[in-house]
Subunit: 185 residues, 2 copies
DNA sequence: ATTTAAACTTGACAGTGATAAGATTAAGGG
DNA sequence: CCCTTAATCTTATCACTGTCAAGTTTAAAT
């Protein structure tokens, strides 16, 4: 009883979700459209009704996590009251997100698909950081450079965070904090 | 006349060289063992006499550029006389290397194969930076954190350097210098 | 109720990594 | 110098992949 209906009903969404689960567990290289179709209980060609090709699927999947990531950062910004701590907290959140999902980092940045000018987390980061610098009395001309330096450090640490020998301490947050605070902004 | 000899004579080396050329031009995803074999004028199974599998080939190719990269850094260290400038110059060299070969960055760090503890450029960097910090009077305990912060920034900027909107100025070196100097070490 | 278009299946194609079995030849020991 | 041996390479093949064309089913719109 209850045969599978011919139409899945929510295939596109399930492909994205299961696909991201898969990437998180096994990495992008292991992902194939056919396996993904099977996981969703659908024929191997079905995904192509919703995505032009694999590349298109990957791009949309990337947008999907980028949105999640952006929300994480926004949540962080909303909950931090002490504005002086916002830089540190935002950086920490940034690093931890990718520490917890190492596959996502490579998935997002390994294909040169992301452009800074069209990357919401960066917009958000840039905005908040610029504001913070402004209040700290940093002159406008210097802000961009400082922001790029900070962004590079946070982004770089996020990428390195998965490597053995980088964040091996007991207290993850303290460890990250210590590193990010080691330079004067 | 002059038929191709049955034995190539230098296949392993040519595979690595042509493979890296290909990665530099088209990225890792485009690389296939078969195309590579064809480029080297050899049957599709020939590479497997020299490499266990594609993964093994990629690892060895990574070692190959890592060596080149290490040499670049060593050369930099050797030529910079003013020891106070060594941190900046080394960072610049690091960023420029990957700015000039964007594909290499992803190739090296996208697969979680590189471990910091077994990554010569890091060893080199750590050594030089630690020494510099020591002369600057930074206490031993703080050095590791400062070094990781600096490493993160340099490494992060190297990865971001290819993105539009990051290093778009006329003078590349000045641009990088400006960013790296924007924070107090 | 009939049409239309979207969502799916089946079957096919070329390209991929990889292996087994066999052909060629360089290298070294007798 | 010859013969053996092992390294190198080819051919043939397998399972798997991305993708498309053609046909099938069904939801939705008229």
């Amino acid at each position: 009883m209850s045969e599978k209906p011919y139409h899945h009903g929510n295939l596109k969404m399930e492909l994205l979700e299961k696909g991201l689960e898969f990437v998180d567990e096994h990495g992008v290289e292991e992902l194939s459209m056919r396996k993904l179709a099977e996981v969703c209980g659908v024929s191997s060609a079905a995904p192509y009704a919703h995505f032009q090709n694999k590349e298109d699927f990957l791009i949309q999947a990337q947008r999907f996590i980028t949105e999640q990531f952006t929300e994480t950062l926004q949540e962080c910004i909303a909950t931090v009251k002490d504005k002086k701590k916002i830089l540190l907290e935002l950086g920490k959140r940034y690093v931890i997100f990718f520490y917890e999902n190492p596959s996502y980092y490579h998935f997002l940045f390994s294909h040169g698909r992301v452009e800074l000018t069209d990357y919401p987390p960066y917009q958000l980061f840039a905005e908040v950081v610029d504001e913070a610098f402004s209040e700290m009395g940093v002159k406008k001309k210097a802000r961009r450079k400082k922001m790029l330096a900070l962004w590079s450090m946070v982004h770089g640490l996020a990428g390195l965070s998965g490597m053995k020998g980088v964040l091996d301490g007991d207290d993850l947050e303290k460890e990250i904090e210590g590193i990010l605070n080691a330079v004067e902004i």
